[in-house]
């Protein structure tokens, strides 16, 4: 070795994205690599920045709901819920019980649909081409139900400040039960196909590890945090809607690697289906809209509301100046905050695992960039 001429080595820069099929949107990261190892990563976001928060200041409260639909566009209802709840808290309005139950049912079904999308596309990311066929078939059932109930497959604009746009169709309960039954079978099928598949384990076990301490400090929430073994779930920690009356477990991972994050989401599908069944049983009859004015004009004040989105803890900081338009709307998008942990997870990983690690965060760029 000593006879070799002295050579300098420099880290190589490798650009990924923004137009890259594995980044699930317009996300760009610059990897600095030493051979096969990632030495550092610099994420670049903002390609989809539409200024949703700024736009919200110029729309009436009812119209802002449509902007929230467009943040995390694979779990629209969960996003609508958090804004609607923030406005309700500011106005001191409580939605009727029936509306709260229906909102919970729809949100949990939306969570399953979102997780199914993750499981399918993540399997694609790590090279399993089949599961996406199964998960999309199952997700379709939820989409069809949503179309039946809200009139739209995405961008539902169904929740209102103080309740719902309208009551659900008469065959809602039957259809939900049949969808839940089929979904459970479908999730089990995907579970058997993928979870303990040896190739899948080899691609995801021990990859992209983040410990609990770092995960908390980076502000990770949702399955990314629970994958690291921290059982923090807004539905348990700060119960909202009717979650207090539902029995469910919070699945947690052990090592905080990609497989654990996948596992948490998979288990959450089962828990959500359990919740839907319980909520459906408890749903009372009654009105779905709180009585009172149809135009929301909250008193002066501010509120920070948060809820458990499929991606994590989504927060809304809402400031009202007493007019019919919000003075300031600030969103804490879980995907954005989860991306902060990317650098920790990628340090020292193989370049081949970069896509696996990014995919395991399950980001939605509409929400990251707002």
């Amino acid at each position: 070795m000593s006879a070799e001429p002295q050579t300098d080595t420099v880290d190589m820069m490798l650009n990924m994205g923004p137009q890259h099929p594995a980044t699930h949107g317009v996300f760009r990261m610059v990897l600095s690599i030493d051979g096969e190892r990632i030495m550092g990563v610099r994420p670049h976001i903002g390609y989809l920045h539409r200024g949703s928060e700024k736009l919200s200041e110029h729309e009436s409260y009812g119209q802002v709901i449509t902007l929230f639909d467009r943040l995390d566009y694979v779990s629209n209802l969960n996003n609508e819920l958090v804004f609607v709840r923030a406005a309700e808290e500011l106005m001191g309005v409580e939605a009727p019980e029936r509306a709260q139950y229906i909102r919970t049912i729809l949100c949990e079904l939306n969570r399953v649909a979102s997780h199914l999308l993750f499981i399918g596309t993540y399997a694609l990311d790590v090279g399993a081409m089949t599961p996406v066929m199964y998960t999309f078939r199952e997700r379709e059932r939820v989409q069809n139900l949503f179309e039946h109930v809200t009139g739209a497959r995405m961008m539902h604009n169904y929740f209102r400040i103080g309740g719902l746009k309208e009551d659900v169709p008469g065959d809602f309960a039957e259809r939900v039960l049949s969808v839940v039954r089929r979904l459970r079978a479908g999730v089990e099928e995907t579970d058997r196909l993928l979870t303990f598949n040896e190739v899948y384990l080899a691609r995801t076990r021990g990859v992209g590890v983040i410990n609990a301490e770092d995960a908390i400090s980076c502000g990770l929430t949702g399955p990314c945090l629970r994958g690291s073994g921290v059982a923090y779930d807004v539905r348990k920690a700060y119960p909202y809607e009717v979650y207090e009356r539902l029995e469910f477990d919070v699945p947690v991972g052990e090592f905080g690697d990609c497989w654990d994050r996948y596992w948490v989401r998979l288990r959450e599908c089962y828990e959500s289906l359990r919740m839907v069944e319980q909520a459906l049983e408890q749903t009372p009859e009654g009105p779905v809209m709180a009585p009172g004015r149809r135009i929301a004009r909250p008193p002066k004040g501010e509120v920070y509301a948060h809820a458990e989105n499929p991606r994590g803890d989504i927060g809304v900081f809402l400031v009202s100046d007493g007019t019919d338009k919000p003075y300031r709307v600030k969103v804490r998008p879980p995907s954005f905050c989860n991306l902060v942990g990317l650098e920790r997870m990628m340090e020292g990983a193989y370049v081949a695992d970069a896509v696996a690690i990014l995919g395991s965060l399950d980001i939605v760029l509409g929400e990251v960039d707002r």
Binding site: I45, G46, H49, G51, E53, K54, L55, E57, H58, E89, F196, E198, L201, A202, R205, G206, V209, D214, I216, S217, C218, G219, V230, A231, Y232, D233, K236, A237, Y238, P239, D249, V250, P251, V252, E254, F255, R267, V303, Y304, H306, D313, G315, F317, R328, K330, R332, F336, C337, L339, V340, R344, G348, D369, R370
Partner: protein, 183 residues
């Protein structure tokens, strides 16, 4: 990371031989019988005890009390919130507008609180929180991006949501919504 500890092949074999699901652990809810507003009041007391004279105003509704502090005291107040045993706010939820609002959350104690600080509108500046919470890095970049808040001690305030070379602070009320032309 360490493959010696957990060889993937062996583990896969062990797990497929015994497909029983792993045990679920419930979350560490410290206060099960308290209502959320009671928990908020208790948090407010702990917050007041920890901040002492640094809090110039306090209030709050529901489970999230807030306390307003001076810019000069911000750095030590934030550190105290994180390290104080009764608070242990280990997660930073968000940094907010020219009135900066630090929404803090404690995973261990299951509590939330907001620290508020007013900044001058012409040259907003505050000490960085990146040394306390890693998450602050991106929040501060965003606040700098959209509102022009300078964070002393954070030397990476590159544009995050906007592109390089963008002029103006679109988050501010003075920035036009419709009259602005991008190209």
């Amino acid at each position: 990371m360490s493959e010696e500890q957990r060889p993937p092949g062996e583990e896969a074999a062990a797990q497929s031989a015994q497909p029983a699901p792993r045990p679920h652990r419930g979350p560490p809810i410290e206060t099960a019988d308290e209502t959320l507003s009671e928990r908020g009041e208790a948090t407010a007391k702990r917050l007041a005890a920890a901040l002492g004279a640094d809090a110039v105003a306090a209030g709050g509704r529901g489970e999230t009390p807030w306390a307003r502090v001076e810019v000069g005291a911000l750095a030590r107040v934030l550190r105290r919130c994180r390290d104080d045993d009764a608070l242990r706010m280990d997660m930073l939820h968000y940094v907010e507008r020219i009135e900066l609002d630090y929404v803090l959350a404690s995973v261990a104690h299951n509590r939330k609180a907001i620290i508020k600080v007013d900044l001058p509108a012409d040259a907003p500046s505050a000490p960085t929180a990146t040394r306390l919470w890693q998450a602050a890095a991106w929040y501060e970049r965003e606040a700098h991006d959209l509102f022009g808040v300078a964070f002393e001690g954070n030397d990476d305030l590159a544009p995050l949501l906007l592109f390089e070379g963008f002029e103006g602070r679109p988050g501010l009320k003075s920035f036009p919504l419709h009259e602005y032309e991008e190209y």
